[in-house]
Symmetry: C2
Amino acid sequence: MKKPSKKPVTLADIAAQAAVTPMTVSRVINGNGYVHAETRERVLRVAREMNYRRNGLARGLKRQRTETVGMVIGDIANPFAAELSRGVREVLEEHGYTLFICISEHNPKEDVQAFNSLADHRADGIIVATRASKTGNERLEELIESGVPVSLIGRDFRHAHADLVTADHLKGGYEATRHLIQLGHKRIGFIGVSLTQGLRLRRFQGYLEALNEHGLTVDEKLIVGGRENAEQMPGYSTEEMGCDGMLKLLELKERPTAIFARNDFTAMGALNAIKRSGLRIPEDIAIVGYDDIPLAAHTSPTLTTVRQPTREQGRTAAEFLLGRIEGDREQPRCERTFQCELVVRESTIPLTEASVTQTRKRQKKTA
Amino acid sequence: MKKPSKKPVTLADIAAQAAVTPMTVSRVINGNGYVHAETRERVLRVAREMNYRRNGLARGLKRQRTETVGMVIGDIANPFAAELSRGVREVLEEHGYTLFICISEHNPKEDVQAFNSLADHRADGIIVATRASKTGNERLEELIESGVPVSLIGRDFRHAHADLVTADHLKGGYEATRHLIQLGHKRIGFIGVSLTQGLRLRRFQGYLEALNEHGLTVDEKLIVGGRENAEQMPGYSTEEMGCDGMLKLLELKERPTAIFARNDFTAMGALNAIKRSGLRIPEDIAIVGYDDIPLAAHTSPTLTTVRQPTREQGRTAAEFLLGRIEGDREQPRCERTFQCELVVRESTIPLTEASVTQTRKRQKKTA
DNA sequence: TTCGGGTAGGTTAACGTTAACAGAAACGGT
DNA sequence: ACCGTTTCTGTTAACGTTAACCTACCCGAA
């Protein structure tokens, strides 16, 4: 006896069928208040039979919270973002919240739209993992000030009432670079930023700092790959950036002996460009990536990279957010910075005199 | 004069401030009905000053639609899913709909939860891009029958009132395999399924069909990699599956001369396992992947693979869904199957007698 | 002058749920 | 027998928005 019901079943429908008031049904569904065992059974049976589903809109409207959290991500295909979202979900689920994800495609306009959508639909809080932008930050500030709980991950933006989770990429970049320096490298290229825009990228600052502290001069020709408008270019992937950037570096008269790439995808692009040119890794050129994506352990050679505790960052951001949602929304900012860890694999080995000479020979051949 | 307002601003607040009724404010905000130009300006000014944001819950409750679409994805880090979601978003945005994404982590239970969350929050429709499962399909059927518009992508499940978009993976798998056969390969391995479970995977069926049609026997020893419970194993990535599977194949007395991998990640895992063992690609072992993810053009050697029109699938699914939402929800199923395309790159070349002998020699050395 | 139609706005009542309160019955202790 | 407490259920009034209906004015045509 199934009806091809058009309108969804409401509490009132169940109430009528079970000969009680909607309020009683509500109590049964939510399991609060006193309801006689017999009544409860009857109501539950009817609800099941009618295939009842609560109306989250009405419920949210009345209760002034939706038990829903929104997360804004720049790029859905990024394993880093994926891992973050797993951490977030783990925590939210434990507390009965649902996660809805919005994608901004690294576009500030879409960023703002995502914030608005989530705010309009009254998500109880928002986790933001997109890169900072002027318009985005402005809108975010308004939201925070209007009382929406916000938790930021790795976004270069601070607000007294928005929590913040980051990893220490300055140190991460520093240690990656120092690792190469300690292996004997003096000409270390960086792929993935333009010199003008790159200063906002912490890991790049770390690179510069390491060079300076070890008395190496920064050679602008060794810094390649950041197209200013790369983010607007659809389909211009970061591995392409790594490949293109590396090719540029290989054309130099004085080639770098080591590469620090902005992230693992860029590193993999560079890695393949190097192989394609007939040079060997790590003997001819060493390479360090960033993020330690799963694939980094499965390239050949496997990739030395910098790992950040990604899932933990997601978990922490979610915990901060829940603290704000269920506690004092006006409480001062919680902030936590995670440490990164250099993971040494096969793509970096000490630079020996032998390999240097060998490189010179090859260079002549190629030229 | 900013107030640290706790409660969000409502139409009534604006109405009071602008000396009109909430209804008039509603008309201004939504731009329908007659409102005097002066009044409109005044209301808009007040709304802006008070930083008004419509309450999507109340609005949705009253209008019985939220202009929101949910999409359920198995794995957020998958470039294929990412591209799908881009296509979906493109279309939705044109029509003023917002996309919320739920992740099921390839877990049927989470799948059902995602369906429920979206239905409870009254998304106007749901796009499902997760793998079929018993519980998932059951719940989906209930939803569809209760009138929720549903559009499926590549899910092995049919319903008279749910639209369906797929690519012809049977043919894709067939052509990938035939390509290898035409290159002269006779021992072609498949990585990524267990024989028992694999029959549901269309591309694997295509593989079997191609072998049969060309008079090659299917050797069970050449089919590896599908752990029955791989999906429940957290952190067991598909590239790991490719690597492990390949290692198993390399141990065989009679090694395959070509590999067809379930997807590009698996192929990359296999590719690196082969390199690590000292064999060459494609001379010693040829390899074909599936999906044509961006990285496939940047491995070394670049990867021969099967491309499916991913973004188009997303777009079509979204168009079907909107047709159902804005048109007749009971209309018969729309169905569209896209064709796949073999993309030949460097990882496959003709198998020559020379390379066969060479392989034999190497095999002796290794052994 | 009357009438039709466009313009400008207000009034009412829902959408589905639940917080808050209220009434009544049942129970246990003195 | 009486009173306080626990159990069970019902009533009312919101939450914020908008569809539907209604009133009133103004303007030009008949």
